[in-house]
């Protein structure tokens, strides 16, 4: 595929423009955060020197050590558990036929377009006082972990099913003929190949869970020790922005940082997984 020179230049212009647009908002709060409180920042706010005092202030005053811990515990648990469960469901729907599979799979798929906001009200009251068991799970990590596992199943199932369907039948056949059980096929034949897909799915689930806000606002805002980082940022911004926008910008950068770092190091997997996986039908 060749293209004229003009077209090439035009292409680069378009790409660079949008790349700048994509990056600028993140850069803008980074710039803001590199200032000191007393700098009275306006306009583009290019930092003339790098000052990390706002980051220190944000970290300690915003109680982000706890926020990060909470976010990590919740996101990691949800990611790992839903990955395991999705491997299971994806495997079943992707390689097997069983009664009712044609009804159940679309029901699970519904979860991708599901209005999760509509479920927070009963989740709140049911966690406040769990029916029959009478546990009090508000302001605990369970309140965030359990629903988000449920919410990730739809995407995870879709993802792993697509992957399993794309594996050559012959491999599965061969293993079956050798007498492997369904679990054996999964464990020995399919999973070793599935790592890119599982990794990509895990990264996406981790990211969505880390970024979740409404659930945290409704279910754990009563306890500072269980607040997630995004929730902490929301409260911190409301309380501190008037007096110190640089501190709030620093807090925002901190909350986004883990995901960005993981993404930059693993972005090959993110995108390779997306290209190789789901849409190859």
């Amino acid at each position: 595929m060749t293209a004229g020179r003009l077209e090439r230049v035009g292409t680069y212009v378009v790409l660079c423009t949008f790349a700048v647009l994509a990056l600028y908002p993140v850069l803008s709060i980074l710039f803001l955060a590199l200032h000191r409180k007393t700098d009275l920042v306006t306009g583009f706010a290019f930092p003339t020197r790098i000052d990390l005092s706002s980051f220190e202030a944000a970290w300690s005053e915003g109680n982000f050590a706890t926020g990060f811990k909470s976010s990590f515990i919740v996101a990691a648990t949800v990611t790992v558990v839903s990955a395991i469960l999705s491997i299971g469901t994806g495997y079943a729907f992707g390689t097997m036929r069983f009664t009712g599979d044609r009804i159940v799979f679309p029901i699970i798929l519904l979860g991708i377009i599901f209005p999760y906001e509509a479920t927070v009200i009963p989740l709140y009251y049911d966690f406040q006082d769990v029916p029959i068991l009478h546990w009090h799970l508000l302001n605990t990590y369970w309140a965030l972990i359990l629903p988000q596992i449920g919410q990730s199943i739809a995407f995870g199932t879709f993802w792993m099913r697509a992957f399993f369907r794309s594996t050559p039948r012959s491999l599965i056949e061969a293993a079956r003929i050798d007498g492997a059980t369904s679990f054996g096929v999964l464990w020995r034949v399919l999973l070793p190949q599935a790592w890119p897909a599982v990794l990509t799915m895990s990264l996406l689930v981790f990211t969505y869970t880390w970024n979740e806000f409404l659930l945290a606002l409704v279910l754990v805002s009563g306890s500072e020790s269980h607040q997630t980082a995004p929730l902490g940022l929301s409260f911190f911004a409301g309380a501190a922005r008037a007096g110190d926008p640089t501190k709030v910008a620093a807090a925002a950068v901190l909350v986004a940082l883990p995901i960005l770092v993981v993404y930059l190091f693993l972005q090959r997997h993110f995108v390779r997984g997306m290209l190789a996986g789901a849409l190859k039908e």
């Binding site: 908002p25 449920g150 806000f213």
Partner: protein, 322 residues
């Protein structure tokens, strides 16, 4: 992304031997290994399904249940049947909220799909130096938490922030305004944020889709003397039909759900100009203590989302048949 594609199972020879077919209840070969009981698939599906049903489907039904009561969430419930729904239908605030969501759909879905297509065309026509850099960068907005996005854009839209400064610098100082506090411009401002967030997702979907289009089609088009634009409309666009459909469904739903960004930028203001249904539901449930009414709003929102997804999919498949 057809869900009901017949699988290769149908053509497989029955591993248990030709005679076994008579003993089976089902006509087609199943995915069962010799020695495994039937419906072993359920064993793999059940744990995930349980979480899904318990924490997603069941609560939705529970919401519908709450919507039939008048309840402040703290004391006792009173049965009111469909009264909350009749109030919802007459509620101008709710109507406005849905109108705002409809407007946001243009920003969250239409613009990003167009931009995504444009970027895909740019990235895949020729070999681009720094392809990985562009792909990585353009997808970035998708990964940032809504709260963080809200802080970044609140700063950009601030009266003394970068956007106004940029306008002044290029001589458009008359356009300077407090964007998120302006009655006319608050909603489009939020819409712009939405476009920024989703265009990367569309682009990634389309790039993946373009890989599936056989190069022979492009070659044929080129032989016919098609330039880049005609190539795009004749080959790329039709080839991406499925992906465009998926993109529309996902982004449209996103527009209807937007809570994080609205809550953390304008909280529905000014004067309710940026109020969206999810925000209104939250206000009723947790600020005005009208849980039953909030549940009714949530139910209406859920119905709207499912209906919209169904419509978009229906339109998509109708195009295919035509």
């Amino acid at each position: 992304m057809a869900v009901d594609e017949p699988t290769a199972h149908d053509a497989r020879p029955d591993p248990a031997g030709p005679g076994a077919r008579r003993r089976r209840r089902r006509r087609r070969g199943g995915g069962r290994a010799p020695g495994d009981p039937r419906n072993i698939g359920w064993l793999y599906v059940l744990p995930g399904l349980a979480f899904y049903v318990l924490f997603t489907l069941a609560p939705l039904l529970h919401t519908v249940y709450y919507s039939l009561f008048d309840w402040d969430g703290l004391t006792g419930k009173t049965w009111v049947g469909l009264a909350n729904y009749s109030e919802a239908l007459r509620d101008e605030v709710l109507r406005d909220a849905f109108v705002h969501s409809a407007i946001l759909i243009v920003y969250y879905a239409v613009f990003p799909v167009i931009i995504g297509l444009l970027l895909t065309a740019a990235l895949t026509r020729t070999v681009i130096r720094g392809f990985r850099f562009f792909r990585t960068t353009l997808f970035l907005p998708q990964l940032i938490a809504g709260v963080v996005i809200a802080q970044a854009w609140t700063w950009i839209y601030a009266s003394d922030g970068p956007l106004n400064r940029a306008l002044e610098l290029v001589g458009l100082g008359s356009l300077v305004r407090p964007w998120l506090g302006d009655f006319t411009w608050a909603l489009p401002s939020i819409g712009a944020i939405g476009s920024w967030v989703t265009f990367g997702l569309c682009m990634v979907l389309f790039i993946a889709g373009v890989q599936k289009i056989p190069t022979s089609l492009y070659d044929a088009a080129r032989v016919d003397g098609a330039g880049p634009v005609r190539e795009f409309f004749a080959v790329t666009l039709p080839g991406l039909r499925d992906e465009i459909l998926v993109a529309f469904v996902l982004t449209t739903i996103n527009a209807l759900r937007s809570f994080d960004i609205v809550y953390n930028t304008t909280a529905g203001g000014p004067g309710g100009e940026t109020l969206v249904p999810s925000m209104y539901m939250y206000q009723n449930a947790f600020l005005y203590n009208r849980v039953g009414y909030a549940a009714a709003i949530a139910t209406v929102l859920a119905i709207a989302i499912f209906a919209l997804a169904a419509i978009v999919l229906r339109i998509g498949s109708r195009d295919e048949r035509a």
